[in-house]
């Protein structure tokens, strides 16, 4: 009962946010929503099937450029459809990356995903006829029928609504046969195999779903930020995403959201520390990992966070 009240309260807060929060925090909340979708997607891969990716900025870039190019050249496509296309395109790339990654573990998987991130930024630089290369791309406002989502508030509602849908889907995935198979792989790969779970297939599916989530988030990122350039999708961003799920809690949907919230705000707040930003950020993260190795989600009663 109290859980229902809490979720209801949270939904009311989300809906009322643009009226109670200062303007800048509307924008920040949109970024939190975008990052939460990425963190959930990354968690489906890393938290559920033990495949840690340091290349999710690459997936974000693919989704972002897909949505931006659609908004520029096919304005009749409404933004939800554009986001879906961005997710599907990215999901397909996820399969292409997931299949060779099946054979890799640990450090080698890290290296492969890391390299993928660099390949994507290189591709953006080299496909400059389409992407404008290093100069970047100004993203027009998201089209929705006859409206244009040109204000911080409208963009916030778009990202919040999409994030909500993605959260509900993710929570439900954990309860399905597919979701159980993911978690079973994390718990014990041998036991999953002897239970008839096609580990290779599900690991690839996890890559695809994870990439799909990140691609949708990328589309939102394009509209929220309004400007894309390969500089946006560097290794720092990929590491930020990994940090979100570690701080929040591996394999936890609410943990992903809290992780995204904490890292986004911390990142923003530390911008004021200029040269010391990377140092402080790293130190805070190490402290969190030392004292809360299960992430913030582990600070709450177990079982509930799955």
């Amino acid at each position: 009962m109290s859980r229902r009240v809490a979720i209801g309260g949270l939904l009311v807060l989300l809906a009322a946010w643009p009226w109670i929060a200062p303007r800048y925090f509307i924008y920040l909340a949109s970024l939190v929503a975008v990052n939460a979708i990425v963190a959930i997607g990354l968690n489906l891969l890393s938290g559920y099937t033990n495949q840690l990716s340091f290349g999710h900025a690459g997936f974000l870039a693919i989704g972002a450029y897909t949505a931006a190019l659609l908004a520029m050249h096919a304005r009749s496509i409404p933004v939800p459809v554009a986001l879906l296309i961005a997710g599907i395109v990215t999901g397909l790339v996820g399969i292409l990356l997931g299949v060779p990654c099946l054979r890799l573990e640990g450090l080698y998987l890290t290296m492969a995903t890391l390299a993928f991130g660099f390949v994507v930024t290189e591709a953006i630089l080299n496909l400059d006829g389409l992407t404008h290369g290093a100069d970047g791309l100004r993203v027009p406002p998201a089209p929705l029928g006859r409206w244009q989502l040109a204000s911080d508030t409208s963009r916030y509602y778009l990202t919040a609504a999409v994030a909500l849908v993605m959260v509900v889907l993710a929570v439900n995935v954990a309860r399905t046969r597919t979701g159980r198979a993911f978690l079973a792989i994390r718990e014990s790969e041998i036991a999953a195999q002897t239970s008839g779970v096609n580990v290779a297939l599900y690991k690839t599916v996890a890559f695809a779903i994870s990439a799909f989530y990140t691609g949708v988030a990328g589309g939102l990122f394009a509209f929220v930020v309004g400007y894309l350039s390969p500089d946006a999708f560097d290794l720092v961003l990929s590491v930020d995403f990994v940090t979100m799920i570690i701080v929040g809690g591996l394999g936890s949907v609410p943990g992903s959201i809290v992780g995204a919230l904490v890292v986004t705000f911390l990142h923003d707040w530390l911008a004021a520390f200029q040269n010391y930003r990377p140092l402080i950020f790293g130190a805070v993260m190490v402290l969190v990992m030392l004292f809360l190795p299960g992430g913030l989600a582990s600070a709450f009663p177990r079982g509930a966070t799955r």
Partner: protein, 243 residues
């Protein structure tokens, strides 16, 4: 009659190390067959080869007359071969109930619920603890859960790897009672067990593995009577044979 399972000259290597060398054996429908041998003799490797977790370098594995040597692990489970791996390998963070649901991964949608109910009838203690985290069960309960989970896929052949390992004698006895009960429901059993005396008491036939090769085979009674086997595996001196 075609055996339910047949291994023809199967060899398995881990890197350069030969784990199995020309192993041939068969298991007929309805039997309980046991594999005896010292640690490292290749018992677990035989089971892993059958369930597709390792690939034989040579030889053939036939299940119901079909070659499954190259089949994927999940396809073998779906074909009706269940495997309870050594050390039980339950999903510790899942509830008992969730463990069973994963076990029913390859089962048809309508089969899952009745099989879960059947498991709770066969293992009442699991029914009592269905919501409990599997990692908090006792060793004997975890072993029962592992068997119950393997039965969720509705196997015709169940591979059991050291089911009594680390269990108190009373619990080991209970597990063996369960294995006999499972066999009586029509499930064929291939059992790897360090307690040879108990295994031979339960099985119809047996094979003895030494450093990857089969060195003896026969009915449980004939193996139990073999002085060499008595000496090596039953802990009895040859002189005591007539005792």
């Amino acid at each position: 009659m075609t055996p339910l399972l047949e291994l023809v000259a199967v060899s398995v290597a881990y890197g350069k190390r030969r784990a199995l060398e020309d192993v041939s054996l068969h298991v007929d429908a309805g039997e309980i067959v046991t594999l005896l041998g010292a640690n490292g003799a290749g018992k677990s490797t035989t089971l892993r080869a059958i369930s597709g977790l390792v690939r034989p370098a040579r030889g053939r594995i036939m299940y119901r007359g079909t070659d499954v040597t190259a089949a994927a692990a999940d396809a073998i489970v779906a074909a009706g071969v269940g495997h309870v791996p050594e050390g039980r390998e339950i999903f510790p963070d899942f509830s008992v109930h969730e463990n069973l649901l994963v076990g029913g991964h390859v089962a048809g949608r309508d089969d899952v619920a009745p099989r879960v109910e059947r498991a709770y009838v066969m293992f009442p203690v699991l029914g009592e603890r269905r919501a409990q985290r599997a990692g908090t069960l006792s060793g004997g309960e975890q072993q029962m859960l592992a068997i119950a989970r393997a039965l969720m896929a509705g196997p015709a052949l169940l591979l059991l790897d050291e089911p009594s390992l680390g269990l108190a004698p009373r619990l080991a006895h209970e597990i063996f009672r369960v294995i006999r009960q499972v066999n009586e429901t029509g499930v064929t059993i291939l059992l790897v067990e360090q307690n040879a005396r108990r295994a031979l008491g339960l099985a119809h036939r047996g094979y003895v593995l030494e450093t990857g090769r089969i060195v003896a085979a026969g009915t449980a009674a004939s193996l139990a009577a073999d002085p060499a086997i008595r000496a090596a595996y039953l802990g009895l001196a040859a002189a005591d044979a007539g005792h």
